[in-house]
């Protein structure tokens, strides 16, 4: 559960860091993109408007040119000449060589009768009097039709001019090649999605559009959206894509030249190149990875620091506890030792008196003596507890002596070896080769080792192994007493160093051994530490500072 705290923390830090680093970036990116997009769009609108205007001019010019040639031909030739023999064909040839785009040419008299004709269709002799354009051209003089089917049943449009020759009027009429005309319009079409065409007010296509429809069919485009000069608008087409439309009314006010293209295609110019995308993605990846990496590192450090802190705290609590207990024990010892001293003097006095001759005859004298001995034995027992508690067993002299740890361990093992053997317990020494002689207290260290190895023997009870290891590092000699006994339950591990904590039966354990050992090692500037696993055994580790003896 402890782990999840750190995992949570790690997740939070990563999320926040990423948010903090990306939010401004994204904001900036979006803003810049937006600004750019607006500018870009303005440019595109400008462009398409310009193209529409230019193209309309080109178309107007085209029509004006054709009309001018037709007018010139009508003005410079007489009706009679026109309808005679091959003359019309000759004129047609001249016109086409000058300007081109004429499909056919015809001469129509004032009654609508088609008097002469050059072209691919067989139209000579037809009467146009009832055709709508006939009236128009007769009254206006020049007429450009919209696309219609006519006699030939093919969509086309015509240019017709009227010639007033003395009393009679006649008409020179030419059909414009829809392919060529369409081609001129389509010259304005760009890109994969671009289109350019002409529609009239009634939305009839006057040229073949690239998409959606064909010449002479109905367009869906609402021509009323386009005003006086050139208008640019954005509309959604059938499949929901935005299209930019630019429309310019031609000079005749009947035809609308429309250029359009998908807005997205034009905007595509804004999108970065493949290489730039790769760089950006790599940059983002780098930020994410470093964030995760540094966060992991930080959290791990934090965790280590926490663990150290906890250990340190535990050690502090322990040594505080020990100091307080020590003071209390000293006070208690005084209060107990004084009464014990009195008891011992009183029993001594009684013995003294019983030794007198007059008591020798008394029948219960032996009983008395035995009772006194018992009292003294129990005083001794109490004395031992108190003295142990205070570590009296230790010599009180403050002088340090030269101590060979391996030697001390060997002696201690010798003391316990026989006892261990009778219980089938092996004590296996494993000593470091060259431990330095240190300035310390041999008796006291011996007592620590004795306590720990005795405890191990008690714990194993029968059949087992006790390893006694010595080693060193820069600052300490380290002694480990390892047994394969039952181990110490986790809830007891914090208590075993407390005075009077014992799990042994009364009379066998005092619960003072580990307390004294702790006290001794600490006073010698060392540490004692236990690690144990139930069912596997116990390791007591003692660190004794390497203090080099003063040279004598």
């Amino acid at each position: 559960m402890k782990t999840s705290v750190y995992v949570n923390l790690q997740r939070k830090i990563i999320v926040i860091t990423l948010l903090v680093s990306f939010a401004p970036l994204i904001l900036l990116g979006v803003t810049i993109y937006h600004q750019l997009a607006i500018k870009y769009k303005q440019k595109i609108v400008e462009q398409i408007r310009y193209r529409a205007v230019a193209q309309a001019e080109a178309v107007d010019l085209f029509l004006k040119g054709r009309t001018a040639i037709l007018s010139a031909m009508a003005d410079t030739h007489k009706f009679d000449y026109m309808i005679e023999g091959n003359n019309l064909a000759h004129i047609f040839e001249v016109m086409n060589s000058r300007a081109g785009a004429f499909v056919d040419l015809g001469v129509i008299d004032s009654t609508g009768q088609h008097k002469a004709y050059v072209g691919p269709y067989n139209l000579k002799g037809l009467n146009y009097y009832n055709q709508p354009w006939f009236g128009e051209v007769m009254s206006k003089g020049v007429y450009i039709s919209e696309v219609y089917m006519g006699y030939r049943k093919i969509p086309h449009f015509i240019i017709a001019v009227r010639r007033q020759e003395s009393q009679q009027a006649w008409i020179l009429r030419a059909t414009i090649d829809p392919e060529i005309f369409g081609g001129i319009v389509r010259a304005a079409q760009v890109g994969k999605t671009g289109d350019a065409f002409i529609v009239n007010k009634e939305r009839i296509f006057q040229t073949n559009p690239r998409f959606s429809g064909s010449i002479h069919s109905q367009s869906k485009l609402d021509t009323t959206l386009f005003g006086g000069s050139t208008t640019v608008i954005e509309l959604r087409d059938g499949d929901g894509k935005k299209r930019l439309y630019a429309g310019t009314w031609l000079k005749n006010k009947k035809w609308l030249l429309v250029i359009n293209q998908e807005a997205a295609e034009e905007m595509a110019g804004l999108f970065t190149t493949y290489m730039e995308v790769v760089i950006i993605v790599a940059g983002i990846l780098a930020i994410v990875l470093t964030t995760i990496f540094t966060t992991r590192l930080t959290v791990r450090r934090l965790r280590e620091a926490d663990t150290k802190m906890r250990e340190l705290n535990a050690a502090l609590v322990q040594s505080d506890k020990m100091a307080a207990l020590g003071k209390m024990a000293a006070g208690v010892a005084h209060e107990i030792n004084n009464p014990l001293a009195v008891i011992l003097q009183k029993t001594g006095w009684m013995e003294d008196l019983l030794a007198e001759e007059k008591f020798q005859e008394s029948e219960n004298i032996e009983e008395f003596k035995a009772s006194i001995k018992k009292i003294e034995a129990h005083v001794e027992r109490a004395r031992k507890v108190v003295h142990n508690m205070l570590g009296y067993v230790r010599k009180m002299e403050p002088l340090l002596e030269d101590v060979d740890i391996n030697e001390t361990l060997s002696q201690t093992i010798t003391l316990l070896e026989n006892y261990a053997k009778t219980n089938n317990i092996e004590i296996a020494p494993d000593f470091a080769d060259s431990l330095p002689i240190i300035a310390s207290k041999q008796d006291q260290l011996q007592q620590v080792f004795l306590n720990l190895i005795s405890n191990a023997i008690d714990a194993i009870s029968t059949d087992g192994l006790i390893k006694v290891i010595s080693e060193r590092n820069d600052k300490y000699i380290i002694v480990k007493i390892i047994d394969n006994g039952p181990g110490i339950p986790e809830d007891q591990q914090g208590k075993v160093f407390d005075p009077f904590f014992t799990t042994k039966e009364i009379g066998r354990g005092t619960g003072l051994g580990l307390w004294i050992s702790y006290d001794i090692t600490e006073k010698l500037g060392g540490t004692i530490h236990l690690s144990s696993r139930e069912g596997e055994g116990t390791i007591f580790t003692i660190q004794i500072p390497i203090v080099h003896p003063e040279k004598k």
């Binding site: 000293a330 006070g331 010892a333 005084h334 209060e335 030792n337 004084n338 014990l340 001293a341 009195v342 008891i343 011992l344 003097q345 009183k346 001594g348 006095w349 003294d352 003294e376 005083v379 004395r383 003295h387 205070l390 009296y392 009180m396 002299e397 403050p398």
Partner: protein
């Protein structure tokens, strides 16, 4: 010089009286004092070979102060310190001030007596040395 005179100083009345009785029963010239002040009064009046002195006595003069005063009045008197709680520091201080030894309470007479005798012997030696020094000095001027 063969009579062995002892002064026991302890605030614990039962302890004091009993120990005094037992020593007297062993033909030792024993006196008791229940405080440091009482002990000093006695010592001013007459010399003792050995003083058994409790370190911790509540109120008034404590053992270490008493030891210092005794050594001033009777430098040759040997003092054995009794202590109910061995604080290393006070015991060492006592030894530095010239105490012969220290003994932890409770103590059996069988353990205390040998120490007293050792102290007595040391004092006797001292006395003898002082005496022979005096004799030599006297001889010089003869």
């Amino acid at each position: 010089m063969d009579t062995f005179s002892v002064l026991v100083v302890d605030d614990e009345k039962d302890f004091l009286e009993t120990l005094v009785s037992r020593l007297k029963k062993r033909k030792i010239d024993t006196h008791g004092a229940k405080s440091g002040e009482d002990a000093l009064k006695l010592i001013k009046n007459r010399p003792f070979d050995v003083v058994i002195l409790d370190i911790k006595m509540p109120g008034g003069m404590d053992g270490i102060e008493a030891l210092r005063a005794i050594k001033k009045i009777q430098p040759l008197t040997e003092v054995i310190l009794l202590t109910g709680h061995a604080s290393v520091e006070t015991s060492i201080e006592g030894m530095k001030l010239g105490a012969f030894d220290y003994v932890l309470k409770p103590v059996k007479l069988e353990e205390l007596l040998p120490k007293m005798l050792q102290a007595f012997e040391k004092k006797n030696n001292h006395d003898q040395k002082v005496r022979s020094a005096k004799i030599r000095e006297t001889l010089k001027y003869w």
